[in-house]
């Protein structure tokens, strides 16, 4: 590859990383369940795009397979499964409740991003530019998604944030471990699908029994 082309690829990798981070913020800010799902799908597609670009950068065909797995499992199968398992009124258009307001959450997410940068900083000497792009942002995405789980009160957004953690981990993973055994990637994809199936069915049961999926307001089991 010419140096010029390498520079282009690097800029594109950075750009995808930037948008990936934005999707993490979007998951906090989305006000409807469908919005969360859409943001998650976009984030998964960005993960796939990053894998394709890194595949070119590292000359690794494995990463293209990873991209294919990500697209099939996360952008196609998960929305499909969610529509099948979760009942329609759960993904209907209505505004979600949050424990902490959106602007405040966004500021906290920013602070988490900076924190992620400080966590990964000691690991970053002698690493490639792609690692510099994906590792901190993958970490930040993980932290933000963990935070999102804690502020979301409803079942499906919680579950999507859970999946977003996995996205963040693999966003860092494709840059730092491009030769990660494919069986591992397949395992993760399988795991994600199992999570969707299990939690989808469980939230339907909760919905059927209690008429709402605001799992955050369930508090019968508090330790007294």
């Amino acid at each position: 590859m010419t140096p010029d082309k390498v520079a282009w690829i690097h800029e594109l990798i950075l750009l995808v990383a930037g948008f990936f981070l934005l999707c993490s913020f979007g998951l906090i800010a989305a006000s409807q369940v469908m919005g969360c799902l859409r943001v998650y799908v976009i984030q998964s597609l960005l993960l796939a795009a990053s894998a394709v670009l890194l595949g070119i950068d590292y000359h690794s065909a494995d990463l293209w397979i990873v991209a294919a797995i990500a697209i099939v499992a996360k952008a196609v199968l998960i929305p499909f499964l969610l529509r099948r398992t979760a009942r329609h009124d759960m993904i209907a258009r209505r505004e979600l409740q949050q424990a902490i307001s959106v602007p405040m959450s966004l500021l906290i997410a920013l602070a988490l991003t900076v924190l992620a940068y400080y966590i990964v900083d000691p690991m970053m000497d002698h690493t490639s530019r792609s690692v510099h792009a994906n590792l901190p942002i993958g970490f930040a995405a993980v932290l933000i998604a963990i935070y999102t789980i804690t502020v979301r009160r409803e079942a499906l957004p919680q579950m999507l944030s859970l999946l977003a953690i996995e996205n963040g981990a693999f966003f860092a993973g494709i840059a730092i471990a491009p030769n990660f055994p494919l069986i591992g990637e397949l395992a993760a994809a399988f795991d994600v699908l199992m999570v969707v199936l299990t939690l989808g069915v469980l939230s339907t049961q909760i919905h059927r029994l209690s008429g709402s999926t605001e799992v955050g307001t369930l508090s019968e089991l508090m330790e007294d």
Binding site: D4, A7, W8, H10, E11, L12, L14, L15, A17, G18, F19, L21, L22, F25, A29, S31, V102, P103, L106, L107, A109, L110, T113, V114, Y117, R129, H132, A133, P136, I137
Partner: protein, 316 residues
Amino acid sequence: MVRMILFNLIQVAVVMFLSPLAVGILNRFKERVAGKKGPSIFQTYRDIWKLFHKDQILSSESTWIFRATPYVCFAAPILVTMLIPVLTSYPLFFAFMGDMIGGGFVLALGGFFATIAAVDSANPYGAMGASRTRMVGFLAEPVFMVVFFTVCFVANSTIPYIVQQKWVHPESNFFNPAHILVAVAFFMLILAETGKIPVDNPSGHFELAMIDESKSLEYSGSGAALMKWAGSMKFFVLLCIFLNVLIAPWGLASGTALGDVLLAIPLIFIKVLGAVILIVMVESSLAKLRLFRITAFLGLAFVVAVAAVLTRMMTT
């Protein structure tokens, strides 16, 4: 040097005389997308012309502020025009008079006068609109600051003519996340600052729901004409900053011949048309936000702008 001054004047003329056209096209497109016929694209010119020929009525309660405001509002975008690249990719005569922050101050001065004039008119809707504008304004302020900060950080300069070159040298810089994210954040700011959906509905006629429009309700005659004209110029100037400084300097004249500069006029107008179509798409596909959701919208813009800085910091 005389040539540079001439170019500057051409630039001002372009902004003054093409901006109502851009607004007219925006309005017509929006109506067409909504399935209606829509006003002529020259309707804004006709409105301004008509208003100049009408008598002006001034409230006896108002002071000089109310009378001076249309002129201040009208002058502000013209001054900013001299600072920014509208037609040329090289700095013109007045370009070093102020940087992007200076330009921001001048525009803010116009906004400030419009606000206090609205209060001055003693119309209850004016004061309400003014306070809402200020709310949007002070939420937008940190975003502006971070956008400028990022731009300075990347380009090591705040002079728009220098900044614009950074994004395309080398060309791969265009896809730098800092660049794209700053552009996205600034686009959201334009929507908020010029009172577009999802922040404000510019075509609404219900005073209680107005944010931007209610400030100029009391103006009539030439005052109203100037305010209307100033509004369209501000819109045009912001689009020029967005397109020429923050996106890319493509289409700007790089030669110093008069022909080059004149050729740049249609090219710039095509770029503006592109931005107008984008805004129409955004406006037609979104609904206006509740007043208190605007915080979330501008919060998102803020986060996008900070993400631009962060990705820049993390990756260098």
